[in-house]
Structures are given as C-alpha cells and as structure tokens.
C-alpha cells in the first residue's frame, strides 16, 4: 500500500511537470529528482532490488517506460508513473539518464567456479548474442555488467516465472536455464566492470 501511495504522489507531480513544454532542461532535472527517490541521487539505487538506470541505454529505458504505460510490464510504482508520459517525454527522460555516469556498486568479481558456470550457461543460451561482449549492452539491449546482483537475480526469476511479461523471448531463455545457473550468472554479471559503449 505504501508503494502505491508513493506512486500516485509521484505520478501527480510528474504529470504537472511534463506537459509544460517550456524550460525543458529544468523540467527534466525536476523529474529526475523524483526518480532519484528510488534510483538514487548519485545513481546508486536506494535498495538493492532497484535497478541502476544511470548510464543505461536510452533505447532500453524508453522501451521499459513504453511497456509500463501499455501494461506489458507491470510495477506498482512505475506503471502509474508511466501513464503520465508521452513518447517524447519518455525519450527525453531516457536520454537524460543514459547520459549520466554508470555508478560503481562495489560488487566483487565472481569466484572462478561461479564464473565458469556462468560462462558455460552463456555458451548454452547465448546471452551475449544480445547483451554484447562482457554484458555491456547496446541500444535497446540493457547493460547488465555491474548491475545490482539482487536486481539481476530477481529479474531473471521474474522472466522465468512470467511475472515480468514484456519479453517472452527472455522467458523462454530463462526457462531453458537452471536456477543454479541463473544465480551464477547474476553474481558473475554483477561483478563485471563497466566498459564504454561503441
């Protein structure tokens, strides 16, 4: 319930800011402050279950906002927020966060046995075919390297049990991968370092 009330409040505030048009840079900054309530003022999320969005790709962030609005992806906080946004607003917000510096969550590299398991799982289902070498992502494929381990783990499980429904291809791949392998992948990807995109 508390989450929902936060969402309604944020949505109301976003709705008053976004359509105004004038002073776009200032409006963006103000919107970003709202996002910081969960995703962090310095890009480090307030809870480990929240994703890093600073430095994430514009295309990916836009698609998530689009899907929250359409209902393809559901979240008590994000879904009502997205209802207030038009395509241009989503693109602008996504661009704003994509230009921020990806934060270092200080997550340790995976031990050798975990890394080996993760690499083997990737060989089997080909994660890096979309998420790129070292899971750095590109365009609409999110960067996973250095993302919060807890968020990665939860997201892969959400795909697996269809709680997250906006990418059935990911559901198929997660179902083709054992839970133990997903745990290894989450730990491995979280421990990878940020590398600048192309």
């Amino acid at each position: 319930m508390r989450r929902r009330s936060i969402a309604i409040t944020l949505a109301a505030v976003l709705g008053t800011i976004l359509p105004t048009g004038g002073g776009q840079a200032q409006a963006l900054e103000e919107k970003a402050q709202l996002c910081a309530a969960c995703h962090g003022k310095s890009g480090i999320p307030l809870q480990k279950a929240f994703p890093v969005i600073w430095g994430q790709y514009q295309g990916y962030l836009y698609l998530q906002l689009r899907d929250y609005k359409s209902g393809a992806r559901k979240n008590d906080i994000m879904s009502p927020l997205a209802q207030t946004l038009e395509r241009d607003d989503m693109m602008a917000l996504a661009l704003y966060f994509s230009q921020k510096r990806w934060p270092d969550l200080q997550q340790p590299g995976a031990p050798a046995d975990v890394a080996k398991r993760a690499l083997q799982a990737n060989t089997s289902v080909g994660c890096t075919g979309c998420h790129q070498s070292e899971y750095q992502g590109e365009g609409t494929q999110p960067r996973l390297a250095g993302q919060s381990q807890e968020y990665l783990q939860q997201t892969m499980m959400d795909f697996r049990n269809r709680t997250r429904g906006n990418n059935p291809g990911m559901t198929d791949l997660m179902l083709a991968t054992s839970v133990e392998d997903l745990e290894a992948l989450a730990q491995y990807m979280a421990g990878l370092q940020y590398r600048a995109g192309q």
Binding site: S124, V125, G129, G139, D172, Q198
Partner: protein, 569 residues
C-alpha cells in the same frame, strides 16, 4: 588511438606455418608515409557488370552479380601460396563481431564494422583515408549481433545499410554523407546488417527482423537520391500456400494440417507479423533482368501455432523482375518451419546439368539444413539436392515444451556465410556448423518490437560442436571432399583462379585449401575469430587476399578488430 595501419612484412606475432613467414616477421616495418596517396574513382555500371573478369578490383560483396566468389587472378596459386604473408594490418576502433566483405576499387578498400561504421583504406598500405561513424538512433532491434557485412559501390558513392534501418549514401572520396533514407521503423523490429547491391541505378536492400514479428521485404531505391522505387513484400497477403507436408528433400515435417486450418479460420492469415527477413544479397541475372534471393524464417521461429499455413515465402528462393519488383517464381524449402532452419546464404548463378544432363542456367543455395540445393533458373524449380554436409538426426522432430533434440542445430548447416564456386571444377565450397541443440516451444503473442522466438534453441552441453569445409559437385550433388574443423564455422569463403579456396575459423586460423582435394596449403593465425568472407584484389601488379578478424557474436568466438591483407614477395 586503438587504430593503426602497419606495413608488416613483419610485426605480426601470430604468423605460423611456413618458414618464409617466420623469416618475414623479423623484418622491420616500413613507414606508411612512403606510399603515394590515392583517390577513389568512379565505378561504372559496366565495371559492375564485368566484375567476374576483373582481376584488380573486388566490386561486389560476393565478387560479381552471380555471387560465385571466384576471383579471376591466379598470381597467388597452389604452387606459391605457402609464401603468402601479411602485407599490412589495420585495426578498427570497434572490437566486436566482424562480418565485412572488403570492397576494393582502384586501390581503395572499403570495410565496415559492427555498429555500421565504415573505413576507406589505401589497399596497398592499409593507411586510413577516411572514417564514417554512423550516428545510431536510440532504438536498434536486431538478432545475432550488431554486425555489418559491407558496402556497395556505384559511380562516386558508396552505400551502407545501418543497424537502425537507414540506407546511407556516402561520398566515396570523403566519406561525407550525401543522402539518407529510412528503410523501416526499428521500433517495430527492423534492422540492417547486410550490404546493399547496386545495379542499373537501383540500390537493393532486404531486412533483418525474422526474430521480431516483422513483415519482410526487398526494396529498391534510386542510387542518385535515395527515393524509394519499389517494395516487394516477402510475405504475401495470402501466405497459406498449398499445405505442403514434405520438405524439399521429401521428408515428412509432421504438420498437423487440420489444427492449422482450424486456427486459420479463427485468426485469419498471419501475414502482418510473419517475419521473412532477407539477410543477404540477391544474385542478379543481367541477361534476363531478374534477381534471385532467399527469404528467412517465419516469426515466431519455433511456435507454429500462431501462424497457420505454409508461411509463404519464408524459407524460400524467390525471383523478381529487377525493374518492377514483380514476382516471377519461388521455391519453398521448408513450409511452416518451426526449427529456424531457413534460407540465408546468398544464392549463386551458375550453369548446371539438369536431370537429363543438359547444361542449363542454374542457381545454387546452401541451406541451414546442410544441403546444397540446385535449381533451374527459369522457374526456380529444384533439380537436385546434395548429400548432407553435416549430421542430420531426428529430422523433423517437432519442438516440445520440454525440448526435443534434433540435428542440425538452429544455426545450420550453412548460416549466412556465402559459398564460393569454381566453375572449372564444377564445385561449390561451403562452410558448415555442427551444433547439437534442443528445440523448445512456448507460445506468446508478439511483444511489440522485442525478440519473438516462440521458444528457445539450446546448445546441448557436453555434446561435441564442430565445423567443416565442404566441396560439393553441383552437377551430381555428391560431396567431393570435406575437411573437419574444431569449431562451428561462420564467415564465408573465396575461391580463386589460382586453384585455391580461402576461409577462416573461430580459433583465428585463416587457411588456404587446394580447391581440387581440400589439402591445407597455408595457415595463418589472426589471434581473433576469422568469421568474415575473404576478398581479393591487385594493386601495383601484386595480388592480395584480405579478410577481417574480429570474431563473431553468434558463435561467441574471440573478438578482435583487424583487417589483414596478405600478399607474396
């Protein structure tokens, strides 16, 4: 600065195999500045039409309009190839999957990298002339890596298709953009990785997106200004077909035709999101003014329940009239494909023996099934199919929710890799993958611009993966020779009048084979996956072989960023 042009009669640490190469690596590098600067010159239609006999340039992605990848220069040959060594190496700024076919025009080489970037190089020295970094839009939706397979050239421009589904014309002298056209909306799942083909003032381009619920096409644009001239939808509004129960080789595909008909009555023709990408260049028959290309898989790849019917023209060879884009004929290899064993490798025009032994105008296509298919060019009909080049097991077992094992795996057979032909020997050369996989099916509606596979293909851990180079006699369908490789093969192949066949491997090996018998005559290790088609050219009276070594996303081979040119001296 990660980029450098090196004149290396030496300096490359990975050279192996022959003593002459070992000696070369001890020599000092010569400075690039001693080479004269060069200026690109116009490419006429006559040059493009006669490329098959041009022993200096490499003007088409697959050599010439027939796409034989048979280079007519014999200076490098079976007798001297052991002395082949690096002439120079150029490092691009992009260390990611490299599938480019180098194009060479009067001493200027054009190569592309992942993320749709272009370099113009001095083909004699490797010196960079200009660099174009395409500003990708925020939305890119693609399968199998951010690849680009090269440019097309015509008159004073070069043509590039980009990951965000644009067609771009650049000034060949400067790399400055001349015009840009939108091909399709990337948010709907469209992207471009293929090189365009230019013929008679038209720029021809297909589309990726068979994993995204698109409606595929081939489009023709005016080479002068980028205006759209015609569009051929690879998925007709009536995509149902004839309810074929057997594939091109006569094997039962285990379709539940009644269930499909029931579904069709409920949902109607599924043509709007049926896929049918065109990944590779069309062959052009200048005599009949027709083009021939192959169409990829239906969407979603593994779930047939959402797309009743034969899913025309997926998994097919298709021919069109060049001037109008009107349909001429087609041949479907697999109707209602639920394995993604589609048609990707570019077709080749060559004279073949028909069933009565008469020499006729033919077409070859190497399929992901592992067969080389031989067609009559007149009506696209099938004359014969070759021996299987890879193990085939449990064909056609339907995908299941638990996962069903079947060979070939979903990458083939022959993937997008172009084949080569030696018309004197009557052989075509193909590189293959052997990847045992399970095919799993699940059902979900199209997720609006996201990957839509309808299940998963999964490599089976513990089962051996491998590859091969195979020479097929296209007049009999028999395998003439085959060389196994330790990894699955993706990239491409080049045959030459010197009696050679060149191709690379995921482990970095780049090799020359004797075209007659497959004997390995030369090996070089590039230090990264050689998963790109080689080209050849001549400058200053010297023949060169050139290839990219940058690895590959699809088989996850070691990444790199090198363009390496080899020569004798």
């Amino acid at each position: 600065m990660t980029r450098s042009a090196l004149i290396i009669a030496g300096a490359i640490a990975f050279a192996v195999s022959s003593t002459s190469v070992a000696q070369e690596v001890k020599q000092e590098a010569r400075p690039a500045t001693t080479k004269p600067s060069i200026t690109p010159s116009n490419v006429t239609q006559e040059m493009l039409s006669r490329a098959a006999g041009d022993s200096s340039n490499f003007l088409h992605t697959n050599g010439d309009y027939t796409q034989r990848r048979y280079y007519p220069n014999a200076q490098i040959n079976t007798a001297n190839v052991r002395r082949l060594h690096p002439a120079w190496m150029f490092q691009t700024d992009v260390r990611e999957s490299l599938e480019t076919s180098p194009i060479v025009v009067n001493g200027v080489m054009y190569v592309t990298t992942s993320f749709s970037q272009v370099y113009a190089l001095n083909a004699q020295t490797g010196e960079q002339l200009w660099y174009y970094k395409h500003p990708l839009g925020p939305i890119t939706t693609y399968c199998c890596g951010p690849n680009n397979r090269g440019v097309a050239v015509f008159e004073d421009k070069i043509y590039l298709a980009t990951l965000d589904a644009k067609l771009v014309a650049l000034d060949a002298k400067t790399g400055n953009k001349v015009w840009q056209s939108d091909i399709a909306d990337p948010e709907l799942g469209y992207s471009e990785t293929m090189a365009p083909t230019v013929v008679k003032g038209k720029v021809l381009i297909g589309t990726n997106g068979g994993e995204y619920g698109i409606r595929g096409f081939v489009k023709a644009y005016d080479a002068k200004d980028g205006k759209l001239l015609w569009t051929f939808n690879t998925i007709p509004e009536s995509s149902v077909g004839v309810w074929a129960e057997k594939d091109a080789t006569g094997r039962d595909m285990h379709r539940n035709i009644q269930a499909e008909k029931d579904e069709l009555a409920k949902i109607g023709d599924p043509y709007k999101t049926l896929g049918g990408g065109v990944w590779q260049n069309p062959a052009v028959d200048l005599a009949t003014n027709r083009i021939f290309f192959v169409v990829g898989n239906p969407s979603p790849d593994l779930d047939g329940s959402l797309r009743p019917g034969d899913n025309l023209y997926t998994d097919s060879l298709v021919s069109l009239d060049l001037d109008t884009g009107q349909y001429v004929c087609h041949f479907q290899y697999i109707a209602h494909d639920v394995w993604d064993l589609d048609a990707v490798s570019p077709p080749v025009l060559v004279d073949v023996r028909d069933k009565s032994g008469r020499l006729i105008s033919g077409i070859l296509h190497a399929g992901k099934t592992g067969h080389v298919y031989v067609h009559d060019r007149k009506d696209c009909s099938l004359i014969r199919f070759s021996d299987a080049m890879v193990p085939q097991e449990n064909m056609w077992t339907l995908p299941t929710p638990e996962g069903a094992r079947m060979l070939p795996g979903a990458n083939g057979g022959v993937e997008w890799s172009p084949v080569a032909v030696n018309p004197q020997l009557g052989l075509t050369y193909a590189i293959n993958l052997h990847q045992p996989m399970t095919y799993t099916v699940t059902s979900a509606p199209y997720p609006n611009g996201k990957l839509w596979l309808g299940g998963a293909f999964k490599v089976i851990p513990g089962e051996e993966q491998a590859g091969n180079v195979t020479a097929v006699d296209y007049n009999t369908g028999k395998i003439r020779w085959q060389v196994k490789t330790p990894q699955p093969m993706i990239g491409g192949i080049l045959a030459t009048a010197g009696g050679l066949v060149f191709t690379g491997e995921a482990n970095g090996r780049f090799r020359a084979y004797d075209a007659r018998n497959g004997n390995v005559l030369w090996t070089f290790n590039a230090g990264a996956g050689v998963n790109a088609p080689p080209s050849s050219y001549a400058v200053g009276g010297k023949q060169y072989i050139v290839v990219g070594a940058g690895g590959n996303v699809q088989i996850d081979s070691k990444r790199g960023n090198a363009i390496i040119a080899f020569t004798l001296d």
